[in-house]
Subunit: 261 residues, 2 copies
Amino acid sequence: MRWTGEADTSGGVRERGFEVEVDGRVVPGILWLPRTVLRPPLEGRVDPRPLVLLGHGATRHKRIDYLLALAHGLAGDQGFAVAAIDGPGHGDRRAPGHDDEAALFGAFLAEWSRDGSTDDMVADWRATLDALGELDEVGDGPVGYWGLSMGTIYGIPLVAAEPRIQVAVFGLMGLVGPTRARMAADAASITCPVLFVQQWDDSLIPRTDAFGLFDAIASVDKRLHAHPGDHAAVPVEEVAFSAEFLARHLAPHAGEDGGGI
Amino acid sequence: MRWTGEADTSGGVRERGFEVEVDGRVVPGILWLPRTVLRPPLEGRVDPRPLVLLGHGATRHKRIDYLLALAHGLAGDQGFAVAAIDGPGHGDRRAPGHDDEAALFGAFLAEWSRDGSTDDMVADWRATLDALGELDEVGDGPVGYWGLSMGTIYGIPLVAAEPRIQVAVFGLMGLVGPTRARMAADAASITCPVLFVQQWDDSLIPRTDAFGLFDAIASVDKRLHAHPGDHAAVPVEEVAFSAEFLARHLAPHAGEDGGGI
């Protein structure tokens, strides 16, 4: 792992770009931390810092507005570490000529259909998690995952493969597309607490296919929150709830009273 | 309206029974208030106190555990007024011999099938609202409604008829039963913010019928929250969210910043 620039604390949190190399691929990412990362030991102990991984949607990138808002809330308000990486062909991994949303979406559909696409992105995330865990400012605290739409396509297999992830937010996806069988199989091995976000009038993901994916998740502790509107119309209320949901499960000592309500 | 006993503040809030007479029916209710109801005017004004009406489920009563928990949270933590009344044939309106849950449920099915059952319960609630509004401790502040299952059967027509109600929590119900057409028609005239609570494995209310009722509600600002489990297994998390949802919309000055997030 190498830093790709200096830390920027102008936004109220500490933000720094990084790159991780995985099987010859260069994976660009961002790490957000509270502005003040050095904490004096209190009564001889420091709780490990929770880490939240953010997966963006198709045609978006690691610093898209809703991820940035989540990162600022989780790092600034909760004191968590937060990281995002660009998906394959997205952000700083974009191929030349894929400059508009239609071209990006077409390229994503091709990538999604490629054998190995899911395994590669899972490997990218796991290498990122390994690298971040070695940083003094992050360490081996509890980990959460947040990713909707394409962030769920790759997030379901990641959470299924990664025992360090203890809570997840998924949604805007269903048992559709080239990896629907892989998603169903991996969902069946997920048992951590899950929030599943659905848009009730989603023109990309049929309602029953979204229900199919929600049903496939094996977690006993899961909930589905649906709001009117199309695919991208997730309200601020739900983004705020998702951050509270992650914080409730990841905050230091959260486990001591049962982890939640 | 007449009080049926002295106020009891032993539970941390002020609780007092009352009766309202409506068309010859005696409607028994409970009013909960913060323990200290007298508030000195601050800078020359006192915000009107929000009021939340709680509708219990079939075979339950106005002081069932989950209503009591809501009442304590909304009155004790939020400073709201909270009221519940017994449904027809329930609680202190129970007929002799209807002593077990099966007999109560049978009696409810007969009552639900009676022409005028919905209109009578709507009248009971509206007379209660009139009477409470005349109390100095309540006044004409914003009103919310919370009622699941039978509390939705009667709550949908109440909220449709009552312009004083500005926010509502419904759920555990669908377009089923003798009044399904009335519920559908009344839902179509509800436009206030709504939280709809659903149990994903509800053996009483088929999923698609619950979706039908959620879809029938005309509100643009609505959300459906579903949890695994049968009819009565609504988790504490969702009850807590419903209280926060009501508080967000009813708290003094809530409207000044848009009333929401």
